[in-house]
Symmetry: C2
Subunit: 234 residues, 2 copies
């Protein structure tokens, strides 16, 4: 169908940016749900559900490709500058962090299958760790959707809670391993699962920092309270 005279098919930059934001928010929602599904599969020892999480990760990868494609398109067609350029670059980086969160969910699901002897006691602390991680992820995605720097800063601050929970779980897993060697193999996998969740918090932090960057550019983001924990700080 031909366009009527006066109509134009060139969408405004804002419309395209809104679409990009929508894609990223959707990616973020899927990634958070994937993390929850992965730990749910672990707790219920449901290998089918775990396999579903592993397969669903492709959807997030595909969304990241769409975002990258849209970003390339915007850069070529609009040659944006200043805040518009920061919007586009922040979108690219945030999508990359969400994609990594999705990878961690898939890794958790893969490892959950290895714990063949049922959900071990030492794993009891994992759901709380996951709940907090997903809460932080949803907060930073919400902060991005609203370009709300204050909310991004508040969400980032909660990463310290996640680190503290992770360390306490790490120590408890070591104790199990020392008390009974039969825990060594399952607890090793649980250690890596816990580390995956702790890393999700780091990606949420990156997202919060990108919300700051897109609003304030290279002005440094206010420092956050962070306990130096060299032993566990990967």
């Amino acid at each position: 169908m031909n366009a009527l005279p006066g109509e134009h098919i060139v969408k405004s930059f804002d419309t395209e940016l809104q679409r990009l934001t929508g894609e990223i928010v959707r990616m973020g929602e899927i990634a958070a749900a994937q993390v929850e599904d992965a730990i749910d599969a672990l707790v219920r020892q449901d290998a089918i559900a775990a396999g579903r999480v592993v397969r669903e990760d492709r959807r997030i990868d595909e969304l990241e490709r769409i975002v990258s494609h849209d970003v390339l398109h915007l850069l070529v067609m609009r040659a944006p500058v200043a805040r518009d350029l920061r919007e586009v670059l922040a979108a690219l980086r945030i999508a990359a962090d969400i994609e990594r969160i999705g990878d961690h969910a898939a890794n958790i699901a893969r490892r959950s299958v290895v714990l063949r002897e049922g959900m071990p006691d030492p794993a009891a602390g994992l759901p709380m760790l996951v709940d907090l991680a997903c809460e932080i992820v949803r907060e930073v995605i919400g902060a991005y959707a609203d370009r709300d720097v204050g909310r991004a800063i508040a969400a980032r601050a909660r990463d310290a809670e996640l680190d503290a929970l992770y360390i306490s779980l790490f120590r408890s897993l070591l104790t199990y391993m020392m008390e009974d060697p039969h825990w060594i193999t399952p607890c090793t996998h649980l250690l890596f699962i816990a580390k995956n969740i702790e890393r999700i918090g780091d990606h949420a932090t990156n997202i919060a920092e990108n919300v700051w960057f897109l609003v304030h550019g290279d002005t440094p983001m206010p420092a956050r309270e962070k306990v130096e924990l060299p032993m566990y700080d990967d």
Copy 2:
């Protein structure tokens, strides 16, 4: 001093791209050296050298900021398209992967300090793992410097060797832990150090894929032989 008539201060895109490439190659060299220094500090149980690796990581972070800044500048001033745009985006991504390799080196150095009782026997396999990882990193950086897709593909293929070495080390660490509980804590740290090195291989793979992307765009890179190792595949 004023420019002479006929002189111009606008550098060509190629010159700026060369500078960007040079910055990234330098980042890559520093990152590979940092990984080697970190494991060297671990083997010699040299806390001062380990501290140096942790501090030096800031140099890599600073170089990444310079690259990001230069990329922004190029995007704004040149509004590149096609291969030029891919060059700029690949530079951004490769710098991000090198920055993560630097983080892994710093993490290894931090953990090496925790192994206070001297270099434990189970760590004997680590230097070989590091040598291979650094070899692959140098290969992909060289492939990037020369825009040599064949070399990038060959380097990426070697990640399977690294995975196999990692798995064999992982199993050996588990065996130590089961034989004697006093190995549990040090071996847990060694497990995470080994995982850091294995992850360096994944970042090298990403770099190889970006060399492909900048030359061939969205054409898919040939698949590689990859054994599915769900247990250890983080």
